[in-house]
């Protein structure tokens, strides 16, 4: 391309538009305004491609747009190299069917979004209740026929959700137990009652923290895993395959997972209680001059079995919530990989929210009945 030849030049006498140089994507931003202004009275009668050194689809698009706007035929193109006319024709063809684009966003979309989100919550509650019903209806049929117990699957899930989670549950509750004892002792010391730290850690872990911490950990660890597993199966049509093979996805996928959590969560809760109290014991021995023997003695004197049951009775409820929401969100996955991520997030948020909500309701209930 030489400086003497501008990219496009209109001959005022013959009405021929002569194009020069590279008409490619790299210069599209400069070339585009040039041809967009050629219309109406100074529309070309002829387009001469003789001076073009390179033409790609971006350049062809500009020529095609000019032809389309001025309703010119391909015949006005002269001195084209082989293939160039076909390329312009192909570009011209695409202009006849405009491509749909989403409308731009407006601030009023905020209201629509808020409405959608509210309806989503209502629908979610409906679906969860429906799903609970579906599973409840499937359980007796399976329970009465030992042949349909999926023992291998059950053991696999017990290992994944229970055994593999054991170290993290033990470590975490040990540390929380230590922290609570330390905090409590600091406050109680001012009243000369630091020995009550034993009751503090004992009660709180038996009644609340043992089961709550375990459930929150499993909500993050297991509910997300269930959603991702089932979601990946859904997006690869494996769920549909299960149905067409005459099996029930709830029986094959949901019941073993729920049963595994029903077995595992109470067991892990006991571990959590023991480890939390152990954390308190270690802090008492090292920081508060309460020897382990004294700690255990005091614990035994104040211990009542009802505290243990208040904690334990919540474990199966949380297990069902975690398993069902994890599985339900998995079934809601649609198509894309992105959807698996969205549903996994949603399942963790929902399970943690519901676990804490239910725990608060249980606390109110036990308060009322005086336990």
């Amino acid at each position: 391309m030489t400086a003497a030849n501008p990219p496009s030049q209109l001959d005022p006498v013959t009405g021929a538009l002569r194009l020069h140089g590279d008409w490619t994507l790299a210069r599209f931003d400069q070339l585009q305004p040039l041809l967009e202004s050629r219309g109406g009275p100074n529309a070309p009668k002829q387009i001469d491609l003789g001076g073009i050194s390179r033409l790609d689809s971006a350049g062809a698009l500009l020529i095609a747009r000019l032809l389309y706007r001025e309703k010119l035929s391909l015949e006005v193109i002269v001195a084209d190299a082989p293939g160039q006319r076909a390329l312009i024709a192909a570009a011209l063809h695409t202009l006849h069917t405009p491509v749909a684009h989403p409308p731009g966003r407006r601030w009023s979309d905020l209201f629509a979004h808020a409405g959608e989100a509210s309806m989503e919550i209502v629908n979610q509650v409906k679906r969860l209740l429906g799903f609970i019903g579906e599973v409840a209806a499937a359980v007796p049929g399976v329970a009465l026929r030992p042949r349909r117990w999926r023992v291998t699957s059950l053991v696999h899930h017990i290992e994944q959700t229970g055994l593999d989670a054991l170290p993290i549950v033990a470590l975490l509750t040990f540390m929380v137990g230590a922290v609570i004892t330390f905090l409590g002792a600091t406050v109680l010391q001012e009243f000369g009652a630091s020995v009550f730290a034993v009751e503090l850690v004992g009660f709180s872990f038996l009644r609340e923290f043992g089961v709550l911490l375990t459930a929150i950990l499993l909500a993050g660890r297991t509910a997300s895993a269930f959603t991702a597993q089932i979601g990946a199966m859904k997006s690869r049509e494996e769920i549909d395959a299960i149905r067409t093979l005459g099996m029930d996805p709830i029986e094959v996928l949901v019941i073993p997972r729920m049963l595994a959590l029903l077995i595992v969560l109470p067991l892990l809760t006991v571990v959590a209680m023991v480890c939390g109290i152990l954390g308190g014991l270690v802090i008492c021995a090292t920081q508060l001059d309460i020897s382990p023997a004294m700690f255990l003695n005091r614990f035994q004197d104040t211990f009542e079995i009802r505290h243990f049951w208040v904690g334990m009775v919540k474990a199966p409820v949380f297990a069902v919530v975690i398993a069902l929401i994890g599985c339900l969100e998995g079934f809601k996955v649609a198509g894309s990989a992105e959807s698996v991520g969205q549903r996994t997030t949603s399942s963790v948020v929902q399970t943690i929210f519901l676990v804490i909500l239910l725990d608060a309701l249980f606390a109110l209930l036990f308060q009322e009945i005086g336990w």
Binding site: L25, D29, S57, L61, A86, A90, S336
Partner: protein, 265 residues
């Protein structure tokens, strides 16, 4: 377009690809000439996709060399390599569209990244062109990949691979999953683009109709090597059990009868 037609744009020499103890390619040689449509055929598991991934630089060869435009992708600097990679358009088997973006946003991604000076309207103009060229219906632009059928996803992915007007187009089974009318239109589209843009096309396919209608040469992958890389007539006549079964089985004969007389090979 300064280089003469017929010159090799891709040269694979002594390529070795190995997965664990399993060797997929053993001292494989392949040439792709400028401006041709090369069909790559072979049974399942003969490493057609692996060969493509080795050429575009997604997989490091376990031996041998791959030269593209006369340069070895493994030894050039990263900046050089990016420049060469910009001249590739790749259509993956399942499309590999970004699932969180609409079709037209998908096509705009390479434009946005490589040609930042274009404004939004210009980008959209170019994206619309590629969507139209790929033969997508007009309503497809604002759809998400998960809302499209398999064939439409292919076309959307082709639109994206064409976004930067590549010199070499790599197509991994482009007509698989398309209905016969759509597949034939797709073949014609590839030929039109090749003729107009001087594209070189590396086309992995199982579709005999595609081979007969648009491929200039055909490379047969078997026994860990390229058995033959030649115009279709010579490949048909090649004496090898797999080649015989492939071209002279019932489907091969049907494709021959339908298009053999007008075959470019």
């Amino acid at each position: 377009m300064s280089a003469a037609a017929g010159e090799n744009v891709i040269e694979v020499r002594g390529l070795i690809s190995q997965f664990g103890s399993q060797r997929v390619h053993d001292a494989l040689d392949l040439d792709v000439r400028r401006g041709e449509i090369l069909g790559v055929v072979g049974g399942s598991g003969t490493g057609k996709s692996v060969l493509m991934r080795s050429i575009v630089g997604l997989r490091e060869p376990d031996g041998g060399s791959v030269r593209v435009f006369g340069q070895n992708l493994l030894t050039v600097s990263t900046a050089e390599r990016r420049k060469i990679e910009q001249r590739f358009g790749v259509l993956f088997q399942d499309g590999a569209l970004f699932s969180s973006l609409t079709v037209s946003e998908n096509v705009e991604v390479p434009l946005r990244e490589q040609f930042g000076h274009l404004n939004a309207a210009q980008r959209q103009m170019l994206a619309d062109l590629k969507i139209g060229l790929a033969g997508l219906p007009d309503s497809a632009g604002d759809k998400y990949p998960s809302q499209l059928s398999g064939g439409m996803r292919k076309r959307a992915a082709l639109a994206r691979s064409l976004a930067l007007d590549p010199d070499i187009l790599f197509l991994d089974e482009p007509t698989a999953g398309l209905d016969p009318i759509g597949a034939a239109a797709f073949d014609q589209l590839i030929r039109t683009l090749r003729d107009a843009l001087g594209l070189t096309v590396f086309l992995i396919t199982h579709d005999l109709d595609t081979l007969y209608t648009i491929c200039d040469r055909v490379a047969v992958l078997a026994e860990k090597q390229v058995l033959i890389n030649a115009p279709l007539r010579e490949v048909e006549a090649f004496d090898h059990p797999w080649v015989r079964d492939y071209f002279h089985g019932p489907r091969g004969r049907a494709a021959q009868a339908a298009t053999g007389k007008t075959s470019l090979g």
